[in-house]
């Protein structure tokens, strides 16, 4: 039973039912969170790789952008408690990318420019639930938001949608990534409020 904070009252409008997970509030801004300087990689040097499959696979920027793309509108939820509704992205489905390799791994560790990593189950990257996004709101994705390309896994807390993503390492075991090593949850389901280890 939580103690009452005397004199505290709701000031924010109630969010649309079923749209905002527990402990979150809606913002119209697009806040930026990252642990270090924003990396800047020239598109000529950019690749997206999948390691740990029977054969490794890599796309140059041109090859990546020649893949079929999708435009999607979705809600995103940051562990720092902001949620942003109806964000529109352009990206390549992870179904397309993972179909290019043979594997039986159950987990991936996404890796990025700047050294960031995050872990995800393969099952959460397939079935039309995850993308490598290169566009936001009809424009190229800005560097501070993870451009040229970031992972987009909107059904998990947004730290799983790794900025500046450069590839996936397929793994048999679930190994913690950057924030997961610092006590954040291994899976990160916002609807179950899995913010920190043990939640």
């Amino acid at each position: 039973m939580s103690p009452i904070s005397r004199g505290f009252h709701r000031k924010r409008q109630e969010a649309p039912a079923g749209r905002v997970p527990p402990g979150q509030y809606v913002t119209k801004d697009f806040p930026v969170l990252s642990a270090g300087p924003t990396p800047r990689t020239a598109l000529a040097n950019w690749t997206f790789s999948i390691a740990g499959a029977r054969e490794p696979k890599s796309w140059t920027w041109q090859e990546f952008r020649a893949l079929p793309t999708e435009t999607l509108t979705t809600d995103i939820h940051c562990v720092t408690r902001w949620s942003k509704l109806d964000t529109t992205w352009q990206g390549v489905s992870l179904d397309v990318l993972l179909a290019a390799v043979e594997y039986d791994a159950r987990y991936v560790l996404a890796f990025c420019d700047g050294g960031y990593t995050t872990n995800l189950p393969v099952a959460d990257l397939t079935g039309g639930r995850a993308w490598v996004a290169f566009g936001y709101d009809g424009s190229p994705l800005g560097p501070e938001h993870g451009g040229p390309a970031r992972l987009l896994v909107p059904h998990l807390y947004f730290w799983k949608s790794a900025k500046w993503v450069r590839g996936l390492r397929l793994r048999d075991t679930d190994e913690p990534g950057f924030w997961e090593n610092y006590g954040y949850h291994m899976y990160g389901d916002p609807w179950r409020e899995q913010r920190y280890a043990g939640d």
Binding site: S2, P3, I4, S5, R6, G7, F8, H9, R10, K11, R12, G23, Y25, V26, T27, K28, D29, F30, P31, V32, L33, S34, A35, G36, P37, T38, P39, T80, R81, W82, G114, G115, E144, P176, F178, W179, N181, Y182, G183, Y196, A197, G198, D199
Partner: protein, 244 residues
């Protein structure tokens, strides 16, 4: 990975407000009494939860302002359109209750073993976790050289001013909007030239901590990399205008 994983469950704990200190017209420090507070590291943050009498709850994260070994304290800046910060800075009184959960975050922290020299860069209330680092450094008698570049709208908006000026660190202010009469210090936003004048040379292998609004952190972190700081020696923590 240098992670110190916290694998136990972080539970909500009742905190009693011990004292409130007005730092500036918009900023207040809350000393919190938490009987089972497990302690924290310099630079970490804490989740705060408020409960209204109708059961409505709101949660926010705040940087911890006190040094390791000290009781928990947070420093909060009032955002006019906010739901939580006006309550914390205007309504809350000693003896009131709220809930806390933490400490949280293990990357934007400083330990004496990390050494230095320390280059701390604050934009506005981004000074809070950097103050915890400077306070800790002083309390343990660390000889690591420290320099703080603090960008503030005006001198009256500077948080912890008296403490910072007696902390044994070099403090350089950049006052972006207005300056007191006779001000001879920097009177502009932090730009590359200013950084080059103030920051420890990269050859001294400084360790940088940057905290502030996104535009500040983007400019400063990129600027330090431009001065030769390796990206892994530049730790950042940002708060956007999150409509909080």
């Amino acid at each position: 990975m240098a992670g110190t994983a916290v694998r136990g469950r972080l539970t909500w704990q009742t905190a009693t407000v011990g004292s409130v200190t007005d730092e500036t017209p918009l900023v207040r420090t809350l000393a919190l009494q938490v009987p089972d507070w497990p302690g924290h590291r310099a630079g970490q943050h804490v989740d705060v939860r408020l409960t209204a009498d109708d059961g409505y709850q709101a949660e926010r994260a705040y940087s911890i302002a006190s040094a390791p070994g000290e009781p928990l304290a947070i420093t909060v800046e009032r955002l006019d359109d906010g739901e939580v910060s006006p309550y914390l800075t205007e309504e809350l009184q000693p003896g009131d209750f709220l809930e806390v959960r933490g400490p949280i975050g293990g990357y934007f922290v400083w330990e004496p073993a990390f050494g230095g020299p320390l280059m701390l860069l604050a934009g506005g209330s981004g000074v809070v976790p950097l103050r915890a680092i400077l306070r800790y450094r002083r309390l343990i008698g660390s000889s690591v050289p420290a320099r703080l570049l603090y960008s503030s709208r005006s001198f009256q908006d500077v948080i912890y001013q008296a403490e910072l000026d007696s902390d044994g660190a070099e403090v350089i202010y950049a006052l972006t909007r207005s300056q007191p009469p006779g001000w001879t210090g920097y009177a502009r936003r932090v730009d590359q030239q200013l950084l080059a004048e103030v920051a420890w040379p990269a050859a001294q292998q400084p360790l940088a901590y940057v905290c502030g609004p996104t535009s500040f952190v983007e400019a400063v972190a990129s600027g330090l990399v431009g001065l030769g700081y390796p990206a892994e020696r530049v730790k950042t923590e940002r708060f956007g205008a999150t409509g909080q």
